[in-house]
Amino acid sequence: MSYLIEANALTKRYKTKPTPALDISSLQIPGGRIVGLLGPNGSGKTTFIKLVNGLLTPTSGQITVCGGRPGPESKAAISYLPDRLHLPGSLRICDLIKFFRDFYADFSTQRADSMLSALDIDPQARLRTLSKGAQEKIQLVLTMSRRAQLYILDEPIAGVDPAAREYVLQTILANYSDDATLLISTHLISEIENILDDVIFIRDGQILSYESAESIREREGKSLDAYFREVFAC
């Protein structure tokens, strides 16, 4: 069976920390699933996501995405929403749409326009003139306007008010195609647990478990959120 993401003996160390930020012996993520990457702050979620996207270089081991090392081919297949504002604030929203259309063959302008009109945001507005919340929504709109094989959303609902969380989740679900894989990293489990097929629990850079959300609920007799609180209790 071919997997969308495969990691073997993967480690990542930072100079500032004595222990590895990530230490995964083996991990395979298949296609067509909604996978939650769940763990407390500093558990290694973002480090893993950055390694998948080629934004970090592994200290040792290897990671393959869509059958190859992170590179132009895998990047064409991944639609990535980082945990920060990363778009140039000086650009107008319509220019950002052109930018994404120019570089990503799977980008749908029609889909982006329709999401923007629903948000009632002027496409002529410069990004930096919008509120932080609106800028985050623009990033989400651009990410979800692609027909990607793999969507990677790093903390898409962290720092977002409860009303906007609903919009974010609706946007993700409405624009995500069934044959794609969705990897969502978060520590706010209750908000997203109903949409997850599989769950990866991560702590101190190590994978604690990787199984289906349903099997956890059946085995533990509780929600993912309750189980998460039990596993990661301080």
Partner: protein
């Protein structure tokens, strides 16, 4: 993809390039007025301060524009590839080579444009003074104009280098482009190496200073014999030709080395904070 990257890099940088070059043009106009229009020997005392301030503005602008352009290029490279914007650039379906080349070509164009304007400005402003500078040369420079200067260059090239002046100018232009590429690549290389420091900006500055001094040391070792040789039998055109030839031969492999280091750092050692 390279063309698209270049297009967006140009869109990001053209406004600052325009402002810098407008300053150069303004300074040139003022310098031209001072050296061509005003009779410097008979300036009224009331206008002396304005004249001095204009000359100072000209010198500061001409000395500062290339530096300002280089600094902006450094900031632009750092911001687009190593700050939050790097999350966008490094997740585009492009290679590290395309990312670096697109910036190198656009930034070189901007730096060369500014450098050419500065050279043109100095030439235009200082043309009336060249007569005194070249006094005693084999060629008569009395009543110097642009056409007489070209004629003088023609004679000097054919007599001393045995090449046409066009070939001489072409060679100088190639050497100029190589040195601009190498200068920009040394900035990129310093920034790429500086990312391995805990304080990344300070690390980049330290790396740049180290690279700069190393480059200066190597080029001094190579060019000093040329300078000493010219002291005994000075000929301006031969001197310029030999100096540019030596520096180009030296800068080409150094530039290629910088380019390979940058690619390695982006492709194999990228660690976005």
């Amino acid at each position: 993809m390279l063309k698209k990257l270049m297009k967006y890099e140009w869109k990001a940088i053209w406004k600052v390039t325009l402002v810098i070059n407008i300053f150069t043009a303004l300074a040139t106009l003022m310098g031209f007025f001072i050296t061509h229009v005003i009779d410097l020997d008979n300036i009224p005392s009331s206008a002396k301060l304005v004249t001095i301030l204009t000359v100072i503005f000209y010198y500061l602008t001409i000395a500062g524009v290339s530096l300002a352009m280089s600094l902006y290029i450094a900031i632009r490279f750092y911001r687009s590839l190593y700050t939050d914007e790097g999350y966008l650039m490094h997740t585009l379906p492009v290679t590290a080579r395309q990312l670096v080349l697109s910036r190198l070509l656009v930034h070189s164009f901007c730096l060369l444009l500014t450098g050419t304007l500065v050279a043109f400005s100095i030439f235009v402003v200082l043309l009336p003074l060249l007569e005194q500078i070249f006094d005693g040369s084999a060629v008569s420079f009395s009543g110097l104009t642009f056409s007489t200067l070209i004629a003088a260059l023609d004679i000097e090239c054919r007599n001393n280098l045995h090449i046409s002046p066009l070939l001489f100018v072409l060679f100088i232009a190639i050497a100029y482009v190589i040195s601009a590429f190498c200068g920009i690549l040394s900035i990129y290389c310093a920034i790429a190496l500086g990312q391995s420091f805990r304080h990344r900006i300070l690390g980049s500055v330290i790396c740049y200073v180290a690279i700069y001094y190393l480059q200066q040391m190597i080029s001094s070792i190579v060019t000093v014999p040329q300078v000493l040789k010219q002291l005994s039998e000075f000929n301006s055109v031969t001197y310029v030709f030999n100096l540019f030839f030596t520096i180009s031969l030296l800068f080409l492999p150094i530039g290629i080395l910088f380019y390979l280091v940058i690619l390695y750092r982006i492709d194999k050692r990228l660690n976005l904070a």
